[in-house]
């Protein structure tokens, strides 16, 4: 199948809760998972392909993902290898703005980006979480992300003891 054709055919995807979204081939190919699916499509090609079901992504999240991939469809996406070497310094302001969302949405976005295999989006969204964690104490992190503290003081002491050899004096 020729995925580099200049025209950009319409593709439909369906969220886990049954909502259908229309987007373009170029956009949807940013997802490694969908790219794999499409590349293995047999006769008939993309034009005749039905809507792609995405069991693990709900409609709210899919809408966000589609917004992102449509914005980035013409940008050259870094490979996972390139992302590996990326330092956390340079972020497109559009992306920065795009990621201004509440934590629930962000978790869903991360899960979706992971499932759909969109390396750049996964990188951006996990970076967002990492930035929130950075320079915070464990207690602050727990209250920020609403995590239950399941350590007992005795356990903490044991872990600290175990790690003592590498603590700074």
């Amino acid at each position: 199948m020729d995925i580099d054709r200049p025209s950009d055919p319409q593709v439909s995807v369906v969220s886990s809760d049954g909502t259908m979204f229309h987007t373009t081939l170029k956009s949807i190919l940013l997802s490694g998972t969908i790219k794999d699916m499409i590349e293995h499509i047999g006769e008939g090609g993309v034009e005749n392909m039905g809507a792609i079901p995405l069991q693990n992504v709900d409609s709210k999240t899919l809408e966000i993902v589609i917004k992102w991939i449509e914005h980035h469809k013409d940008n050259i996406q870094p490979t996972s290898e390139e992302i590996k070497d990326k330092t956390a310094d340079f972020i497109d302001p559009w992306d920065e703005n795009f990621l201004e969302m509440d934590l629930d949405k962000l978790y869903n976005l991360i899960t979706a980006a992971n499932y759909l295999n969109i390396p750049q989006l996964l990188w951006l969204s996990t970076r967002k979480i990492a930035m929130l964690i950075k320079n915070r104490t464990p207690q602050e992190i727990r209250s920020l992300f609403n995590i239950e503290d399941d350590w007992t003081p005795q356990e903490i002491e044991a872990v600290q003891k175990e790690n003592q050899w590498c603590e700074e004096k």
Binding site: D104, A130, D150, W151, C166
Partner: protein, 503 residues
Amino acid sequence: MTDNIINNLPDEVFLEIFNYFNGKSLKSLMFVCKRWAEIISGHASSMKKLPVNMKKLLLDYNGNISHNFHTLNIEHINIFNHDLHDYLLISLGRSVQCLNISYCVINANHLKSLLENLIHLNELAITKSRISDDPIIEKVNENEFKIKKFKVTHINNNILKYLNNIQVSEMEIIDANNYKINHEYLIEFILRQKSMRSLIVEELNNNVNSLFLTNDLKHATFRLKKFTGLFCTNLTRHEFFNENLISFLNVHANSLETLKITGSSLSPNTYKFSISHLSNLYMLELNPNSIPQENSFYKNLPKNTNLKVFHIESTITRTNINGVLQIIRHYSNISNLMFFDTDEFISNDLFYAISHELKFLLNLSVLNFNKNFIPTHKIQILNSFSIKILNDIDQFLNFITLNNTLEKINVGWIKRDFGEEIVEKIITQPRLQYIKFGGRFIANKRIYEVISRDYKNLRTLELVVNNYDDIKNLKFIFPLDRNNFIPKCLYFEEFNDREPLND
């Protein structure tokens, strides 16, 4: 979506997140909750990415991997895995000469392979790190390889066991006992050495006898060829220590040039042995409180003329001066003497002995002059004098006027300001070529005028300024070269990055 807590995210996503942090931060993140701790400790070895700090280290400004790393520091990484290992080898390969590993858990095979492949490695330091538990030791290439300096600090016991094919020429073991270094491995390691020249041991407390021979090691085997320097500090006195040290010294008596045993006391026998048998000794550093004081002890000792450098580690007092004086008599060729402090009753006696016994003394370094000290005896050919703290200017002036052979003077800190007539006296010393002063006084403009007008042979003026305002003044008076005074070098410590001020 019903359940929207962060901990519903899969492990692989957490790994993505945790990859932004270095080992030290990860340790703190372990205390957020057990899930995080499990991911960090359990999956640590399968993390695909390098910690961000490693990446920053390895990337130069263009974002490319630099192949010209001279020194590589690996810190806070408890995921010393295959990827990191390969990455280091591929990207750094042959350029690294110094490798510092600290706060790491290392797989023995990776460490060995890394060391063997960094073929230009010259210095290795391992600090507060350990070999990961139960490593499966593969038979990797067992060729011996050499590094020059090897330093271990606070390491967990078994690293040395796995480094059985390294040959080092200088080894330093610091505070090993604190982290229960296994002395068996240490001894074995040292015994394997064929060309170790220097061994520095600090603060070994228990089992120190095993370092200096045990019953099950034959004396003859504990011989290091070309071994020239032993430095021990804070060795707690141990039953076998002196005995073992003597046998060690005995084996190396003909090669040992440097002996430094500080912070611990030697038995009279050990001491006697070191000053009578170590015929090649060039440098000796001792605690005066640990040496015998009775004259009888020194009576039949043969003179030793090889020793040139003698450092006295702690305050010379009425109770230990006799030993010091005896040593000075014994080693009459000392050219370089350094002592810290003297008590007020003995400083004149000490200087008398120095001027009468040490005919070849060129360099003298003291902490300060005692207030009772009156310079009356010239040290014959004294060339260089260094005093850390200067209290009394007249006393100092008398001393340098008396010792008119001085070419170099180094004053660490001058307590009080002094005026032009004193500067004049200092710089008109006939042979003085070099002065270094520290303290605030040098901002004084007049002093420059005096120096530029009256200096004789002065070639180098080195100033250590500790006050920003002083620099201002210095700048103001600086065009000294107009008056033909051209300082060879002029240092302003700590202020090199300040903007130059206009006149």
